[in-house]
């Protein structure tokens, strides 16, 4: 652990924080997310046509799929940052991993709420043990246990290394969980987004989806930057004491 013993001059403190670039850019991420997500509403409800088979419930797609994308992105960041932490031992990677895990759990919770809301009118059930649903549920449980583990380990260096190991094992487990569940039970729509000869959906739907993906990505970056900054300040407080 590199000791940070700056004087408590706010300017110097702010300059010494890790991930300064991310923190500086957070306002742009926040503003961008606000604009794109405001545009997503008319895009999803007015611009995109109504689905012939599913009707209005299909429009939850523009929130559900971006949230799922962010969940995977967030846990991928945890995975990479965890490897970087074990390789370098620098606490800034623990900061990034823990912030990303927290934001990832929030988005995964969103997937798990919007999924059943969509499933009920279309499949007739709130829940199905389908491979993707089940994998997301298990993923959510793994990263909740990641957050729980962190609260139980008071020593920062130990906490960083132990949670990094879970961040690596948890992410590597995801594809195995997916395949094991799909062999165990196989209802989810197949890949309609990326297919040969372009997306199998009207371009207006695709626009709304892209807008959702971009807006959610900016929202993720904003939340990540805020969370990293809070974590950095807290870390500084711990060292300063």
């Amino acid at each position: 652990m590199e000791a940070r013993r700056q004087e408590l001059d706010p300017e110097a403190v702010a300059r010494g924080l890790p991930w300064q670039g991310l923190a500086t850019a957070r306002r742009y991420f926040g503003a961008g997310a606000l604009i794109l997500l405001a545009l997503l509403l008319p895009a999803a409800f007015l611009h995109a046509p109504e689905d012939l088979e599913q009707g209005p419930p299909q429009r939850i797609f523009y929130v559900h799929v971006p949230a799922a994308w962010i969940a995977f992105l967030a846990f991928f960041v945890v995975f990479v940052a965890s490897i970087a932490l074990l390789a370098t031992g620098r606490s800034r990677y623990d900061l990034l991993a823990s912030a990303s895990a927290e934001v990832g759990v929030v988005f995964t919770t969103g997937v798990l709420i919007t999924g059943p809301l969509w499933a009920r009118p279309i499949w007739g059930v709130w829940w199905d043990w389908d491979p993707r649903l089940t994998s997301v549920l298990v993923l959510w449980l793994i990263y909740l246990s990641y957050l729980a583990l962190r609260t139980y380990l008071p020593d920062p260096a130990r906490r960083a290394r132990a949670s990094a190991v879970l961040g690596i094992v948890g992410f590597l487990d995801v594809p195995i969980i997916y395949f094991s569940v799909s062999w165990w039970r196989a209802l989810h729509p197949s890949h309609v987004i990326i297919a040969r000869g372009g997306p199998r959906m009207p371009p207006e739907m695709f626009h709304a989806l892209l807008l959702g993906l971009a807006g959610f990505t900016l929202l993720y970056l904003y939340l990540l930057a805020v969370r990293v900054r809070v974590g950095a300040l807290r870390q500084m407080e711990e060292v300063g004491e």
Partner: protein, 226 residues
């Protein structure tokens, strides 16, 4: 490589000698696993058609709980009296310590299985017959899966304040693929199927075991670093 195996054998030998002399854990965890099977028999339909599937699930729940108890205790003993410090300051490579703890856990759970599986078959009136080779393959592969991940996170859990609570939280979601594959393979065995009919599940178990054995070897040294 030779020194690794030797050091791992020494660590595992120490654990087994300790268990042999006290017989603390085997009797209590074995009894506990048997109790899980008996209590589950009252909780699930364990007669008639389909009891092979229910039985396979019961067996693996019992083995999972037994594994959790075993791994928790094994690492807790290392933590007491600074035993782990002693191990770490010995010239044994860290990877070998992981392998040794893994081996002793696998052997311990296997000993529970030797007692539990026959009594389970008798209690549920199951006749394995032609499924025996599959059962003999599936049970150790599943056990190894529980142990590779379990040894790693038991090492994490002993460093926390509430180790009994956190260990199952960490390990159970990670073991979902092991539980699915081991239960499915065991069910096939109880239905009298051969090894070939459960090839997918055996392959899944083998790849899980190998992958997380490698990850365990690579990450364990970081967990015990001071």
């Amino acid at each position: 490589m030779g020194s690794w195996v030797r050091a791992a054998a020494l660590v595992a030998g120490k654990d087994l000698r300790l268990e042999y002399r006290t017989r603390d854990l085997l009797s209590s965890v074995g009894l506990f696993a048997l109790l899980v099977v008996v209590v589950a028999s009252f909780s699930f339909p364990t007669w008639g058609q389909g009891r092979q599937g229910v039985g396979a699930g019961m067996l693996w729940m019992a083995l999972l709980f037994a594994g959790l108890l075993g791994m928790g205790r094994s690492l807790a003993l290392e933590k007491e009296e600074g035993c782990l410090q002693g191990l770490l300051s010995s010239p044994a490579p860290r990877e070998a310590i992981y392998l040794g703890k893994l081996a002793s856990l696998v052997l311990f759970v296997s000993a529970v299985e030797v007692l539990l599986v026959p009594s389970f078959l008798v209690l549920l009136q199951l006749d394995v017959g032609p499924g025996l080779p599959l059962l003999i393959l599936a049970v150790p592969l599943g056990t190894l899966g529980i142990a590779v991940v379990g040894t790693l996170f038991a090492t994490v859990a002993v460093q926390t304040r509430t180790r009994e609570v956190i260990l199952p939280l960490l390990v159970m979601p990670l073991l979902v693929p092991v539980m699915i594959a081991a239960v499915k393979a065991t069910q096939a065995a109880l239905e009298g199927l051969g090894v070939g009919q459960a090839r997918t599940w055996l392959l899944l178990l083998t790849s899980y075991d190998l992958l997380f054995l490698l990850v365990g070897l690579a990450t364990f040294p970081h967990l015990v670093e001071e």
